[in-house]
Subunit: 343 residues, 2 copies
């Protein structure tokens, strides 16, 4: 019967549980952490007290002494635009399973300043590790400069050689090659490209592969449109390309959104897809399979990617030497590509 001063309402602590169970707080800790040796009888008493008092271990106190917050910071750049950000959901789920908390910062633009601010935000919080999506050279540079001790997985198609940081991404080159090979295999000799924003690695790589594939096949470079991954510019650029004399027989869209715009541009001009024009996309976004016509595209397996990211991250946290393979995309063949008409 301990008399308690009727203090302010305060959640129960280990000591409260200890008193209720008639043991020391250390014993409570042993039960809670499942470590150490405790008699079944003692454990039962403690568990009962815990249940009765609705005890929860205080994360702050724990973090204070262990110097571990069990938190992972995730920095999302250009969050909603490109597909890869949905990878985040996978990361989060996996992390929670592993007992981590996931904090997020989603950036409107992946500028140096924004990245820097976000990294600082997380360092203030004391995250154990970070995942940073760095789509551009600038953001990648800021990231590598900003992360210091903190283990970090950088999701980027750029190059990273810095101890403690590991780069991870889809094999953009392989994906783009697949798309181009598919078009070339269907006999297309004049292939346009709708590029994403050219400050992004992914857009650069996809465009470079388009050029190289054409050159390798001994073909002249096709028309190029540049956009922002989105459908609006996909439409206007595609329209411009298709209205020009000598229009291409195929379009390689840098994203499904851009390809979607191309589909409509063709429709508006009375060009039939895939009979008169083949279109291929990149991402396999939701709904791509129900476009008119269903879009052939390159799929990126976000689930696998998320898992890989988190695997690398936990490895890094535990101080292992981490090397990760790139994740391979795959081709989803639907109905927007057909053999080129022999002239």
């Amino acid at each position: 019967m301990t008399r308690e001063p009727a203090g302010v309402k305060r959640p129960p602590s280990m000591l409260d549980v200890a008193r209720a169970a008639g043991v020391s707080h250390t014993t409570v800790a042993r039960v809670v952490n499942g470590a150490g040796t405790v008699t079944a009888r003692t454990e039962a008493k403690v568990l009962a007290a815990i249940g009765q008092l609705h005890y929860r271990r205080n994360a702050a106190a724990r973090a204070l002494v262990t110097r571990q917050t069990q938190t992972i910071g995730v920095i999302l750049a250009n969050s909603l635009l490109s597909g890869p950000s949905s990878m985040f959901v996978e990361i989060e789920r996996k992390a929670r399973d592993l007992g981590y908390w996931v904090s997020v910062a989603s950036l409107a633009v992946a500028s140096s300043e924004e990245i820097d601010a976000a990294i600082n935000h997380f360092r203030d919080q004391g995250v154990d590790a970070m995942v940073v999506m760095a789509p551009t050279k600038e953001s990648l540079k800021a990231t590598l400069a900003g992360i210091d001790e903190t283990p970090c997985v950088v999701v980027t198609s750029g190059r990273v050689d810095q101890p403690g940081a590991v780069a991870l991404n889809f094999d953009q080159e392989a994906g783009a090659k697949m798309a181009m090979a598919h078009l070339l295999d269907h006999g297309h000799r004049s292939i346009a490209h709708l590029a994403g924003p050219l400050d992004e690695f992914d857009a650069q790589i996809r465009m470079a592969v388009w050029r190289k594939s054409l050159a390798k096949a001994g073909l002249p470079e096709g028309p190029l449109g540049v956009g922002n991954w989105l459908a609006d510019l996909g439409y206007s650029e595609a329209r411009r390309i298709l209205e020009a004399p000598d229009r291409p027989t195929a379009i390689f869209g840098g994203s499904d959104q851009m390809a979607l715009g191309a589909l409509r541009a063709a429709f508006d001009l009375g060009i039939k897809v895939p009979q008169d024009l083949s279109v291929i996309g990149f991402d396999d976004m939701p709904g791509s399979g129900q476009l008119i016509p269903p879009l052939t595209t390159v799929r990126q397996d976000l689930t696998l990617m998320g898992e890989t990211t988190l695997g690398a991250l936990t490895g890094l946290i535990e101080g292992e030497a981490v090397t990760v393979a790139q994740v391979k995309p795959s081709l989803v063949v639907r109905a927007s590509v057909a053999p080129a008409r022999r002239p």
Copy 2:
């Protein structure tokens, strides 16, 4: 010249800064927190020491004594499928501005168990407040049962009367009414609906409004398809409806994805949109404006919604009585709706 035992590497603490600046740690605290009274000269010394040592205030220690983690937990249900989850980006940005950290849990399914687990996860972490997206009755019930002391904004179209919790959502009813009015105004007398998963409030409401609007106009109920918000079922259900005798002249899609499926179904059957069939969607997802034809739809202003959510949340944290208005959606008129053909 204090002699330091060459201990393990440890981030500098307030005491370290204090020693370096020749003041007490209390003074350092005053500078760091910007509270209390400090001479400009002292402040400069302290700031210099902070810069030199790369001092960062330890969030865990601070949380321990203040009992405030400055963290908001966000629970996302069915994250990637429906539009509303992208609201999260807005919430996050705003919260970070306000000095909060945002932790996320994204649920595959909004079942009682998942919601419960996520809420517990956040309570373990000691979040100051939560945002829970509860699309279904089941998840809403679990949410209201699970949140206890923690202030909580529930994003749901369901009903919430519980002190400490406040419901917030788009005015689904207004949105659906707009869509139906638009169709009715164009003279459509036979309107089908492609509903979302019927365990979700939003799907229920949109369907109910569809029914009611028809009844109010003195029209018989039109054909109904039920799906999962996605394009695949949108296609098959729309196709079924359009192949039946007495096909409707308009389709009200529960989501843009479903409407997208309907667009293709019509195309496959040689039904021209909007000449022979009007289609309207809901969400205004990216790309909707570039479909064939560009989709007329109901837009939900996610930015405003995110802001409203966070406003309510901070109010709740500070113990104010919070009542929030629903956010009104708006109609985006494009090209998929035309006057009904007079038979």
